[in-house]
Amino acid sequence: MAKRSIIPFGPQHPVLPEPVHLDLVLEDETVVGVIPSIGYIHRGLEKLVDKRDYKQYTYVAERICGICSCGHGLGYCLAVEQIMNIEVPDRAKYLRTIWVEMSRVHSHLLWLGLLADAMGFESLHMESWRLREKILDMFDETTGGRIIHSVNQVGGVQKDMDSAMLNNILHAIDDIERQMKPIVKTFLHDYTVQSRLKGVGVLSKDDAIAQGAVGPMLRASGVEYDARLLGYGAYKDLTVEPIISKDGDSYGRCEVRMKELFQSFDLIREAIGKIPQGDISVPVKGNPDGEYFVRIEQPRGEAIYYVKGSGKKYLDRFRLRTPTTSNIPPMVEMLKGCQLADVPLLILTIDPCVSCTER
């Protein structure tokens, strides 16, 4: 038997913008075991419910993570609204959906860029991020912020979009879709990209379910599950079809995210076509009393928000189970048996979001 050695990976590593630490147990070049340890960005945000009242906490929830910010605000507000029996106006539901889908576009383009960077494909990385700027410009125009938008509030949204803004969004996504074509071709059909992705890091359907994978990771292993079908926001009026891939390898995960981008373009178009006129928020009185679990589909997978209140201004408990928390055990499973040189790329294919995970 070959000699075992342990190689520390991280916390500061060029391929990841965020610190995460893994101890890789190797036999020669092959990974046989992985011990993840987290905690570098742990801030204790769930504990802040003791110091911020339930309306102020929306802003904290949005700052759990800078990439999934819009979704975190939405998930938190949905949970509080469910407890307090607030019916949000239809226009607000559509606006929320448009913003959340836009953040999915921005998140997936960001991931594609990082994936290209991990493969050492610099021009593809730059090209993906260049396209992502167009979505950020639209966020800037509609919400006033590029990354943190602060549009959700308990009872609706804070800002409305006029028809000029909606038109600009349509133009922006048409533009991105047109310019995406060469990128799609490279990611899905290029020989060099395929040789890095195909058959690498395979996660079988049974493993994906047993290890609790979520989101594109689960769908890439052939499981049809997309929390958007639960019908929160405006999704119950829109056509959502879970996008799956059969092989469960890195290429499958790339393919799923690529197709989800185009799905998001279609959803944004459909939502803008159907958006009703009306109010964007309802007044909120009283304090939440009760508990509720909300599931929403974030770009990285299903996130679960739990809110418990007891009729006071300050909540008893807020809990967020992020997609990456669920995706770490399958990642550990998937890394076993791979080559050391593939480790950075494979970690990236789960689209890790460490600041969400550690909160």
Partner: protein, 145 residues
């Protein structure tokens, strides 16, 4: 020795940020903002870095990492705190696991406010840091190095 500020290398570390500022730092390197036109390159190696960009407040886990990276960087070096969390602790200030801004651990030369700090602000901060870098280099040379 020529001026380091003609082509300084940049090292980025996320102390405990929400990711927002980190993404904007990376954004600065991509085509729209393109910080490379100032000769700046992002490096992963502290031994080759001149500018240390930090995002997020410091917690007890990252404190030693930040100190270690800072001590590994060669003189002259400048530290840029990006985002309101790195300046003062920001929204996370009252969290039990946050010590406060970066200046509670290492000396900071330039503060860039914002939540999340905009790329324009980050570039402004880095350009300002170049002047500090020049001044530090001049001071070192005056001491005969």
């Amino acid at each position: 020795m020529g001026k380091v500020s003609k082509s300084p290398w940049l090292l980025h570390y996320d102390a405990s940020s929400c990711n927002g500022c980190d993404i904007e730092v990376l954004d600065c390197l991509t085509p729209k903002y393109d910080i490379e036109r100032f000769g700046i390159i992002n490096t992963g190696d502290p031994f080759q870095a001149d500018i240390f960009l930090i995002t997020g407040g410091v917690n007890s886990q990252t404190e030693s990492v930040v100190k270690q990276i800072y001590s590994q960087m060669p003189e002259p070096k400048v530290v840029v705190a990006v985002g309101i969390c790195a300046c003062t602790g920001g929204v996370f200030k009252e969290c039990y696991n946050i010590k406060g801004g970066i200046d509670t651990v290492i000396p900071v030369d330039v503060y860039v406010p914002g939540c999340a700090a905009r790329p324009e602000a980050i570039i402004d901060g880095v350009v300002k840091a170049l002047k500090v870098l020049d001044a530090k280099q001049a001071a070192l040379e005056a001491k005969g190095r």
